[in-house]
Amino acid sequence: MRLATRSRLSSGGVLSLPLVWTFLFLFVPYGILFIYSFWEKKFPTFVPAFQFGNYLELIVDPQYVRVLLRTIKIAGLVSLLSLLLAYPYAYFLVHKVTRPGVRLVLYMAVVLPLWVSYLLRAYTWKTILGTQGVLNSFLVSTGILSEPSSVFLYNQTAMVVTLTYVFIPFMVMPIYAALEKIPRNLTEASRDLGMSALQTFVRVTLPLSMPGVIAGFTMTFCLSFGDFIAPFLVGGPDGMMIANVIATQFGAALNWPLGSALALVMLVIVLTIITLSDRLQGVGKGKYA
C-alpha cells in the first residue's frame, strides 16, 4: 500500500515537469488564442468582447476561403508528389539494395538534409529557380532558352517543388519503416501461389505498406499546410497560404481576434486530419501476430 503510494508519487514527480511544460507552453497559448478569437476589432487595436463576428467574417469574406482552399490544394499536391517520389525510393532501398552499408548511405541521404536549417533549404530553391539561378544558367548555356526566364520562381509550382523537397524525408521514413517490416516470406508466398511480381506488389506489398503511406501523407500534409516560409520565399503574389494570412493579422493588420479565429480553424482542420489518419491506421493494427 505504502509502496504503491510512493511509486505513484514518484511517477507524478517524473511526469510533473513535462506536464507543467505542456500546460504552460501549449494549453495556455491556445487558451489565449481561444479567448482572443471572440474579441472585437476596434480601431486602432481591439477590445475584449464575446461575439462570433470573427468566425463569421472568415465564412463571409471569400478571400479567406480562397486562401484556405489554396493551402489545402498546395499541401495536397506536396503530399502527392512526395508520395510518388518517396515510395519508389523506399521500395528500392528495401528490396533492391542488398548491401546494408549502401542502404544506410542512401537512407541518410534523405534524412541528412533535416539537420540543415529549414530556412536554408527553402532558400536554396530561390537560388535554383531564380532568374540568375542554376536552372536558368543551365537552360541558357545549353541554348534551350535564349534569355533567363522568370517563370520558375514566385508561383505555386515553385512552392510545391520547394515544400516537396523540404518535407519528403517525412514521407520516406515511415514508408521505409513499413516496407521493411513486411516479412520477406509474404512476397515469396505470393509468388509461390502463382502471382507475378506486379500482382504480388498490388495485392501484398502495397496494402501492407499503407500504414506507412498514411503516416507519411499525414505528416507532409500537416507540415505543408502550416508552412509559412516557402510562400514567403518562393511563393509570389498568388502563393499566399493560410499561415501567412495569420501572420499578417497579428502583424501589419493588427487584428489579433481575426488571426486567432483563423489559427483555431486551422488547428481544428489539422487535428481532424490527424484523427482520421489515426483511425485509418487503427484498421491495420495488430497484423503481424
Binding site: A189, S190, R191, L193, G194, Q199, G284, G286, K287
Partner: protein
C-alpha cells in the same frame, strides 16, 4: 510409381560458401521425402531451389519431365509451406486459402467451393472469416497447409513446418500431416533438423551434410544400416569407437577403449590384419543393443566389456546408463518393460559388464563421409 522430381548435379554457391554441392536426387510421385540435417547442411537451400526462390549456380531441376531450373516460383507447379507460415495478415483465412486460385482464372463460385473443401480437409471450416492473427499456432499451420494444397501442386514443399509449435502439438501435427499426405496423395518434400520427426513421418529420409547427400533411404534402413558414422550418430545415438582390426583364432577382434570385442560383420571379413594405425576403422553400436550385467566378481561369458556406471538417466520408457569403459563413455539403454526390476538394476558407481552380440557392432569407414 513414376518420378516427379529429378535433380541433377544441383549446386548453389553463396560467394565462397558452398550451400549445396552437386546433389542428384530423384523423388517418386506420392512419396513423402524428408531432407534431414543440421543447420547449414544445405537442406533448406535445396528446398528453396526446388521452389524457385534461389537460383542454382549449376545443375538442373526436372519437374514432371519439364526443366524448371530457370522458371520463377509462380510458374512452377509446386507450393510451399513456409517455416513461420507466411499468412497474409490483411486477409481472412478464407482469402488466404483462395489466394492461389485467384490467379488461375478460376470462377468465384468454384474458388469458394474449393476453399471450403480444403478448409474442411484441415478441420478449419468455421474459421474461414477469421483473421490469421486470431488463430493459434497449430491453426495457422493448418491454414498454411490448406493454402498450399488448394492448388493441387505436383509437389508440396514444407520448410520446417512444425518447428514453431510446442512439443505436444508438434507430435499431434506429425500424425496429422502424415495422414493428410496419405489422403490427398500429393508428393511431400519436407525439410527438418529433427531426426525423430523425419523417422516418424517419411517414406524416405535424405540425410544431408555439408551440402551433400550423406545417405538416402527409408527410416528402418537408415537406423539399422547407417551408411557411415555421421548418419549413425545423427539418427539415434551410437557408441562410436576407433580401432584396428585383428584376426585371431578365426575371430575378428577390435579394441573398444582398450578392451577386446569380437565382431561379426560381412563387411569386415576381408579387413586388413594387423595392428597398423593406418588400418584403424570406426565401429559403433546402438545403446539399446547392449545389455548390462551387474558384476558379482566373476567374469560372465559372451562378448563383454567391463566398466563402471557413472550416471543413470530416466527417460520414461527407457533408462539410459552412462558407463565408463577405459577412457571412453558408452551409453546403454534398457527398456522399462514388465520384466524390468528396479531393485536389480544398476546404479551410479556400480561395476558392470556390458554384453553385446558380435553382429550388432557396425563397421564404418574412417572419415565417416562415405
Amino acid at each position: 510409381m513414376s518420378e516427379v522430381i529429378r535433380i541433377e548435379n544441383l549446386r548453389k554457391e553463396f560467394g565462397d560458401v558452398i550451400g549445396v554441392a552437386d546433389v542428384s536426387l530423384s523423388i517418386e510421385r506420392g512419396e513423402y521425402v524428408t531432407l534431414l540435417g543440421p543447420s547449414g547442411c544445405g537442406k533448406s537451400t535445396l528446398l528453396r531451389m526446388i521452389g524457385g526462390f534461389e537460383a542454382p549456380t549449376s545443375g538442373t531441376i526436372w519437374l514432371d519431365g519439364e526443366d524448371v531450373t530457370d522458371l520463377p516460383p509462380n510458374q512452377r507447379a509446386v507450393n510451399m509451406v513456409f517455416q513461420d507460415y507466411a499468412l497474409f495478415p490483411h486477409m481472412t483465412v478464407g482469402q488466404n486459402v483462395g489466394y492461389g486460385l485467384r490467379v488461375s482464372g478460376v470462377p468465384r463460385a468454384q474458388i469458394r467451393a474449393r476453399v471450403a473443401e480444403t478448409l474442411s480437409l484441415v478441420g478449419l471450416t468455421d474459421k474461414a472469416d477469421a483473421s490469421p492473427a486470431e488463430l493459434s499456432g497449430g491453426q495457422r499451420q493448418r491454414v498454411a497447409l490448406a493454402r498450399a494444397i488448394v492448388r493441387r501442386p505436383k509437389v508440396l514443399l514444407l520448410d520446417e513446418p512444425l518447428s514453431a509449435l510446442d512439443a505436444n502439438l508438434r507430435e499431434q501435427m506429425q500424425v496429422e500431416l502424415r495422414n493428410l499426405h496419405d489422403r490427398v496423395g500429393l508428393t511431400f518434400v519436407m525439410v527438418t533438423h529433427d531426426q525423430s520427426e523425419a523417422l516418424v513421418m517419411s517414406d524416405r529420409v535424405v540425410v544431408m551434410r555439408d551440402g551433400r547427400v550423406s545417405q538416402s533411404g527409408d527410416p528402418v534402413s537408415l537406423y539399422d544400416a547407417p551408411a557411415n558414422s555421421y548418419v549413425a550418430d545423427f539418427i539415434g545415438a551410437t557408441n562410436l569407437f576407433s580401432s584396428p582390426v585383428k584376426v585371431s583364432g578365426g575371430k575378428i577382434l577390435v579394441s573398444c577403449f582398450g578392451q577386446e570385442l569380437e565382431i561379426d560383420h560381412p563387411a569386415v571379413g576381408d579387413a586388413p590384419v594387423g595392428n597398423a594405425p593406418a588400418g584403424e576403422r570406426l565401429f559403433g553400436f546402438r545403446p539399446e543393443k547392449a545389455r548390462l550385467i551387474r558384476s558379482n566378481g566373476s567374469v560372465p561369458g559372451g562378448n563383454c566389456l567391463k566398466g563402471r556406471v557413472e550416471t543413470v538417466l530416466y527417460h520414461g520408457a527407457t533408462i539410459r546408463s552412462v558407463v565408463v569403459v577405459g577412457d571412453g563413455r558408452i551409453l546403454v539403454d534398457t527398456l522399462l518393460d514388465d520384466t524390468f526390476d528396479p531393485a536389480r538394476h544398476v546404479g551410479a558407481g556400480d561395476e558392470v559388464f556390458l554384453d553385446i552380440e558380435p553382429h550388432k557392432i557396425m563397421p564404418f569407414s574412417r572419415d565417416g563421409a562415405s
